[in-house]
């Protein structure tokens, strides 16, 4: 199996006619994702690539195509509205790729989603891919390989690097998820760990964190308490200076509980093998499996 995205994913692409949206829709379709609809207001009635019907609203797309998952490629300032729209239309899983969504927007989005019972992955994330089954987002399909390692990460290209190491050394993936680097995100490490723990096709989990916040510490505690499968971890930002922002908003060291050293210690205390460098993922997995 896999988590969150699979063969039964019926995807609607919000912002399908935009530059990023159209490029990645083609990529997802090539990969085999069931892209059933697109949404661009004012382009309802058209078809994307002569096949995928485009609608004015997500509600129309859901009514006509039974889409259950959406991926959002709209500009950041429209992203929260796109999330509300998808949740309101009954979409079960929303993957928001858009980068630069104002954090205060997210503080309002979160309780809305909770009321609707909708899962959001992101924003500012590469999405999720279940190799060989379905890809929702922008993780390059070519670097992935079917298998039994679950990957969950706050990062984008760093995730690719680690997936690349895994695939190149015979470790395929059940699902790879980038949860996003922003301070407020829809799905956190713990929810992914729980899903991987419950997934019969996942044998081991790779967790890729970074400085800032306390998500990794909480994830470590969760692993200690609830996860029976082997977990291998990485924390980026050991050399980052305290108090400075490293590119995306996730990487702020707030108080004393966001340093790489602290996070690595927390992971180790929870019985998670911590990599010193991305390439270590292979040897550590080998040890544990």
């Amino acid at each position: 199996m896999s988590i969150f995205v699979d063969r039964d994913t019926r995807l609607v692409v919000q912002g399908i006619t935009g530059r990023d949206g159209s490029f990645h829709t083609s990529q997802m379709m090539e990969y085999g994702t069931q892209v059933v609809a697109g949404v661009t207001p004012g382009k309802g009635g058209q078809r994307f690539n002569r096949t995928v019907p485009v609608f004015d609203t997500v509600a129309d797309a859901v009514a006509e195509t039974g889409a259950n998952t959406s991926v959002i490629y709209v500009p950041a300032r429209f992203a929260s509205d796109a999330i509300y729209e998808a949740a309101d239309a009954g979409i079960e899983l929303i993957v928001c790729i858009s980068e630069g969504v104002p954090v205060l927007d997210m503080t309002r989005v979160i309780p809305f989603l909770r009321e609707k019972g909708t899962r959001l992955i992101g924003p500012n994330c590469p999405g999720a891919i279940s190799p060989g089954r379905s890809k929702v987002g922008i993780i390059p399909g070519t670097i992935c390989r079917e298998g039994n390692v679950g990957v969950v990460s706050r990062s984008g290209t760093l995730t690719y690097e680690i997936i690349h190491q895994l695939s190149g050394n015979g470790y395929g993936q059940s699902t790879c998820i980038g949860i996003g680097g922003d301070p407020i995100i829809g799905t956190n490490f713990i929810e992914c760990l729980a899903a991987f723990e419950a997934d019969p096709d996942t044998n081991a989990i790779v967790l890729i964190g970074e400085i800032g916040g306390t998500d990794e510490q909480q994830a470590a505690q969760y692993v200690a308490d609830h996860v029976t499968k082997p977990v291998v971890g990485f924390i980026a930002g050991q050399t980052a200076p305290p108090g400075r922002r490293m590119g995306h908003a996730g990487a702020i060291i707030s108080g004393s509980s966001g340093t790489a050293a602290e996070k690595m210690a927390a992971l180790e205390a929870a019985g998670i093998c911590v990599m010193k460098r991305p390439a270590d993922v292979v040897s550590l997995l080998k040890e544990r499996l």
Partner: protein, 379 residues
């Protein structure tokens, strides 16, 4: 983006927060004139984006206009944590009977704005939090409802006994929250929130930081950016859409993606080197960005090798390769480059680079190790 104290004061005043008078000056003459008009004692405060202004000598309390001038002569032009003081705020010396703290931040854990208050104001709030955490009171605000009157009152009761001051402080908190939301804030702080000898509650010092992602839709806030208060390289990076932070090492790094950039820096350290910077060229590729990135890195005289680490996803490797070729042909770039490229359009990129006389690696560890080695040899 950080606002200056005087800008934050203006926003709070507009939101209805009582703020004592105060004027901004850029010369000792102006300071003297303002201080004379105000009469009596004044305080002169350096306007720089840095904490610890007081300790650095950037804040002076003086008795009269002549002393104000003298203080201004010292403060204007001084350097605090690497930032030059170009402006000072001149304000009448307040008769302070108590100092409290009120601050709002966006909290990752509750996923909400959190307001914190403490009766221990006027000092570093992180110290209060560390030493006497029971003197800090926090409340997560539901942004769907805002900071409601009863919530503000319950916090204000932690600061004052007199119900008149409680009510004033509660109104200040609600207006601070409104200013925070309206500015697209990531932080808004009044420290200290004072009571004066007439029993009035006033915001003596204010700090607001804005979420950069808000600036597109808040042009009036975006205009408050003070370029003179920022390092040149960071301005150039921001304008090119790069994230750049200067560090003290000698291996220049140019990476796509913040996580990979940090992991690259960590690997430089792992192989015995010291990274010279954090630099993320971002998701969408554009040869111009690479040109700017190389210029910024090249301007740092400590840099002895430059490492490119590109994992092509949305970023196309050929775009980065073209950028490298363009940049090095436009400018005389003497520092040796180590280039690692993999992913989208990797083969094309390698071809472009080889035609221009560069070689490219495929493995991250190999590239980092090599960049460190070259830098060490050049020392």
């Amino acid at each position: 983006m950080n606002l200056h104290e005087y800008q934050a004061r203006t926003l709070l005043k507009a939101a209805g927060v009582p703020v004592p008078d105060g004027e901004v000056a850029t010369t000792p003459d102006e300071v003297e004139t303002i201080a004379r008009a105000m009469g009596g004692g004044v305080v002169i405060k350096a306007q720089v984006h840095s904490g610890g202004r007081g300790k650095a000598g950037g804040v002076k309390l003086v008795e009269n206009a002549a002393e104000a001038r003298a203080a201004a002569e010292k403060i204007l032009g001084m350097t605090i944590k690497g930032l030059t003081v170009n402006k000072v705020l001149v304000a009448p010396a307040a008769k302070i009977t108590s100092e409290s703290y009120v601050g709002i931040i966006v909290d990752r854990e509750s996923q909400r704005p959190v307001i914190m208050v403490s009766p221990e104001g006027g000092v570093d709030i992180e110290e209060v939090a560390a030493k006497t955490p029971d003197k800090i009171f926090k409340l997560a605000i539901d942004p769907r409802f805002g900071l409601m009157p009863y919530q503000a009152m319950s916090l204000a009761f932690k600061l004052y006994d007199d119900v008149k001051q409680v009510r004033q402080a509660a109104v200040v908190m609600q207006r601070l929250y409104q200013a925070f939301v309206d500015a697209g804030g990531s932080l808004a702080e009044i420290n200290p929130l004072i009571t004066n000898d007439e029993g009035a509650v006033l915001a003596l010092d204010a700090k607001i930081s804005v979420d950069d992602n808000e600036l597109d839709r808040k042009p009036a806030i975006a205009e408050l950016r003070d370029l003179s208060a920022e390092a040149e390289a960071e301005i150039a990076a921001r304008e090119a859409g790069l994230s750049f932070i200067k560090l003290d090492g000698y291996v220049g790094c140019c990476v796509n993606g913040a996580g990979l950039a940090m992991a690259t820096m960590d690997l430089v350290k792992y192989y015995g080197g010291e990274p010279a910077n954090f630099l993320d060229i971002g998701g969408s590729s554009n040869p111009e960005k690479v040109v700017t990135a190389l210029k910024i890195i090249g301007a740092d005289s400590n840099v002895r090798s430059v490492l490119f680490n590109i994992f092509g996803g949305i970023t196309r490797c050929d775009d980065v390769a073209n950028g490298i070729v363009a940049a090095t042909s436009q400018m005389s770039f003497e520092i040796p480059l180590v280039i690692r490229l993999t992913g989208t359009n990797e083969k094309l990129a390698v071809q472009i680079l080889e035609e221009a006389g560069f070689s490219a690696l495929n493995d991250m560890d190999e590239a980092v190790e090599k960049a460190v080695q070259i830098a060490k040899e050049a020392a």
